[in-house]
Symmetry: C2
Subunit: 342 residues, 2 copies
């Protein structure tokens, strides 16, 4: 007797982008996934796909923090879904789970690869955002590398994004004056009105770095902690504004991901500011804090449950939208965490 | 009755340089220094003048780590000299002392401003070098910010200079593989033959950054600690070679001091490497460790006494040579610590 099977759809990563990534670098393939399960195997149907800037880093030719994402395999990524078949005593049909299952509608997983989610504790999509990788990055990046102190001025670039919007709020809770930098008036309103930041700067409103720097200086009065998600011209503007013993956290450089990691562009030298201010720069990655996830969740989950923290999501509907959604990250159109719903 | 007086000669800093500093930015003035002393006053006759790259930093227009050096005062700087008149019970005529007395043959000082030197313990000039500010910078910069571990690969730029030559040797003592970068074959021979480094790279032998980087990679195999005294193209070459959790110590950027601090030039962006390798950059200044000087001396003075450490000096004769000697630092003609002898 044949086991039933699932009609699977998968986005294969088939071509390395040179500039902006998009649908032309992916192929949508259909196949049958047999429902036959070995002991401890589980089939998960994806409901929400995480779309993250790091995916584009892994598509660069040069070694980055990983070897490049292999071609001709399913695009890797975090997924929230439900169990539709289970040969594990730990998972029942209907359970919500998180897994690194990639861009496919169905995935056959070992039970050990999955984390069970409790929808009564928090919306399941938070496993891809505030209680997942972006939350972990924001929490440990700010607390461990940024070392905020009450009264410090924290400047966050990409402040309306998945990580930045959390960093900004964690900074407020740590007693900092927080200035967010984002692109466009809507995002800036979100920062001051929804997140309660002390000030927001729309970098798109400034044609040159000097004007942008003057505005950041005006509203911040100088920078004790700079949490950087974007790099590029915004960072060029912020670094000369650092104060004595400033901490600069390099969490991302999204402005450079369209190809600038393979062929870096030119920017003014700035290491002298590190010397003059005896400042530090530290690069951080979410994976470094993976095993400390429970620490972050213990701190942040109660804030989520009590509605004390804003975790905005931008939802794109349709599995077929995944490659375009990834490309849209680099246009800065998302507010908070970008998700694709199957 | 008039007290006798000393014929003093003083180098006044009178004009801010835009590019290379030289005699045209100074004026030599002669005056009488009365030998009349208040209680606890001491007159010191200078014998050795310290000539240091930081002096040029303080001549930049922009604020650096200090307000700019004021015009129309005697050039500040460290001096080793002898007491020629004393109204302090702590100092007798003939005593060797260190003081921050500036570029003048005689200085009237409060006893509290002077440190007595013991010529039996170490050559008195070491108070301006290995047992003075450069030694302190090298020791704490490497040990506290660089955090070398046995087996690490340490790359030092400006490795034949006052600080770099000490960092390189401290790195060997810490169990590192040490690669020195310097300008010219003579300096490179000094690094491998006198200091016993594992390899030396002559940056002047490479026309482009790529060639220089390839050679540093070849001899180092990648960089765990980079102690940077020079900045500029050498640093452009080293940073992409850092390994996981590398520590970059910014101690100086002498290649930029001819005017590049006021008008930074352009260089390839590199912060992505900090991210990929979860590396740190830390700026350090000698002054941050001033009160920990005894710790450094306790470690290093026995090595000096036992001849276990090379502390090369380049001696320029003649008080009138001081401004030209300062300018010569930026041509890289000195080996080890540059001193002017009165």
């Amino acid at each position: 007797m044949n086991a039933p099977s699932f009609v699977n759809r998968q986005w294969f990563y088939v071509k390395r982008p040179e500039g902006r990534v998009g649908p032309e670098h992916y192929e949508l393939r259909e196949s049958q996934l047999s429902a036959a399960l070995a002991h401890n195997e589980v089939i998960v149907q994806a409901h929400y796909f995480s779309v993250d800037p790091y995916m584009r880093i892994q598509q660069h030719q040069r070694d980055t923090y990983d070897v490049p994402h292999p071609l001709d395999i399913v695009q890797q990524g975090g997924v929230v879904g439900r169990v539709v078949a289970s040969a594990s005593e730990r998972f029942a049909e209907g359970d919500w789970v998180y897994g690194y299952n990639g861009w496919q509608l169905y995935a056959k997983c070992h039970a050990n690869e999955l984390t069970k989610l409790d929808p009564a504790q928090a919306p399941v999509t938070t496993a891809l955002g505030v209680l997942g990788m972006p939350g972990r990055t924001a929490w440990f990046g700010l607390m461990e590398a940024g070392r905020p102190r009450p009264g410090d001025t924290l400047v966050v670039s990409g402040a309306a994004g998945a990580v930045g919007s959390l960093v900004a709020q964690f900074g407020k809770r740590a007693g900092c004056k927080v200035v967010g930098i984002a692109g466009g008036a809507d995002k800036c309103r979100f920062l001051t009105e929804r997140l309660g930041l002390d000030a927001a700067v729309d970098y798109k409103a400034f044609a040159d770095v000097e004007g942008l720097a003057a505005e950041i200086q005006r509203v911040s009065g100088g920078v004790d902690v700079y949490f950087d998600n974007v790099g590029g011209r915004v960072t060029d503007a912020v670094i000369p504004l650092i104060k004595r013993r400033a901490r600069i956290v390099i969490c991302g450089a999204i402005s450079q991901y369209d190809g600038g990691l393979d062929t870096p562009d030119l920017a003014p030298r700035f290491l002298q500011h590190m010397l003059f201010q005896r400042a530090t720069i530290q690069g951080i990655l979410a994976r470094d804090f993976l095993l400390r996830m429970p620490e972050m969740v213990a701190q942040v989950a109660p804030w989520v449950k009590n509605g004390e923290i804003v975790f905005e999501e931008t939802l794109v509907d349709g599995f077929e939208q995944l490659p375009a959604a990834l490309g849209s990250l680099f246009e800065g159109r998302n507010l908070g965490k970008l998700l694709v719903r199957a």
